[in-house]
């Protein structure tokens, strides 16, 4: 039997999870994996995965991939980078995994998204383009939460 952690301990544990999440936001373009994140946070991979999911609604690897895809959407909209270049620029080592996850989250493969976005905002005032192309974070997640990594946008 394990005893219930004290309130102070629980807050320390949450702060530790916050640092893992912030690290994902900061280093998403690096080859991060669950084992590295867990080891550096002084936890087992299983424990980190479970606790992170309880705190943030999705496991760390899903959060990492969402962060990468979100950044990839922004890079693809620029139109000057190929899908492969974008895939590696956001830290994905496998084009297959990148394409699969991108398609799941965005609803179309990265190549189609790039073509669509390149023509969609043509001739549109930049303030309008900014509004309509705003990335929607993690749209497949059951309980969407506001995205920490970007500020509230003026509406």
């Amino acid at each position: 039997m394990t005893s219930r952690p004290t309130a102070a301990q629980q807050l320390r544990d949450l702060a530790r999870l916050r640092r893992v999440r912030d690290r994902i936001d900061r280093e998403y373009a690096q080859p991060l994996d669950l084992e590295t994140l867990a080891r550096d946070a002084g936890m087992s991979a299983g424990h980190l995965s479970r606790q992170f999911r309880i705190a943030y609604g999705e496991p760390p690897y899903a959060y990492l991939m969402t962060r990468r895809i979100e950044r990839a959407m922004a890079l693809l909209r620029r139109g000057d980078l190929s899908v492969t270049e974008v895939c590696f620029a956001v830290g994905c080592g496998s084009l297959g995994t990148f394409t699969t996850r991108f398609t799941e989250l965005v609803g179309m493969p990265p190549g189609s998204y790039r073509r669509q976005e390149a023509s969609a905002t043509e001739g549109m005032p930049s303030c309008v383009a900014k509004q309509v192309t705003r990335p929607i974070r993690n749209r497949e997640a059951p309980a969407p939460e506001p995205q920490l990594a970007s500020p509230p946008l003026p509406t």
């Binding site: 309130a7 629980q10 807050l11 320390r12 949450l14 702060a15 999870l17 916050r18 640092r19 999440r21 912030d22 936001d25 900061r26 705190a55 943030y56 959407m73 922004a74 909209r77 930049s126 900014k130 192309t133 705003r134 990335p135 939460e145 920490l148 990594a149 970007s150 500020p151 509230p152 946008l153």
Partner: protein, 136 residues
């Protein structure tokens, strides 16, 4: 009507560490420091802008909260989802270098964002999200 923004509030869970961050790392001045019942409300702000302040406050002292709500606020602060503030500076890279040198928790290095700003993100000691954008 001509209304200015006078003060905004950010929670702290340790007055001395939060004060050290805003005063020593960001270079803000201390304008007021009120203690009551072992808790502190500290008013700070950027030098040269006396009209706008931040009050660092103890969230547990807010009247009318239930114990559950107090616990939830403390947990949200710890997991980094409670409060946010946006700053701006002409010298983002200088500000970021200073934050990095002070071993502040970095969330994002200066980045050109798709929504048209260049900014960086860090945590204050209480877990509040601080984003600093470049004035241009």
């Amino acid at each position: 009507m001509n209304i200015t923004i006078h003060s905004t509030f950010l929670p702290h869970d340790d007055p001395e560490t939060s004060l050290a961050f805003y005063r020593d790392t960001l270079g803000f001045e201390t304008r007021n420091d009120v203690g009551y019942g072992g808790m502190r409300w500290i008013t700070i702000g950027p030098a040269g802008q006396p009209g706008i302040s931040i009050v660092l406050y103890p969230p547990a002292a807010t009247p009318g909260l239930t114990d559950d709500e107090r616990r939830t606020i403390a947990e949200m602060m710890a997991k980094g989802t409670y409060a946010t503030i946006l700053f701006a500076t002409k010298d983002l890279d200088g500000a970021f270098a200073r934050l990095q040198a002070a071993k502040v928790e970095i969330v994002e290095e200066p980045t050109e964002q798709p929504y048209g700003v260049r900014d960086c993100a860090v945590r204050d000691p209480a877990g509040n999200m601080i984003r600093i954008q470049q004035l241009r």
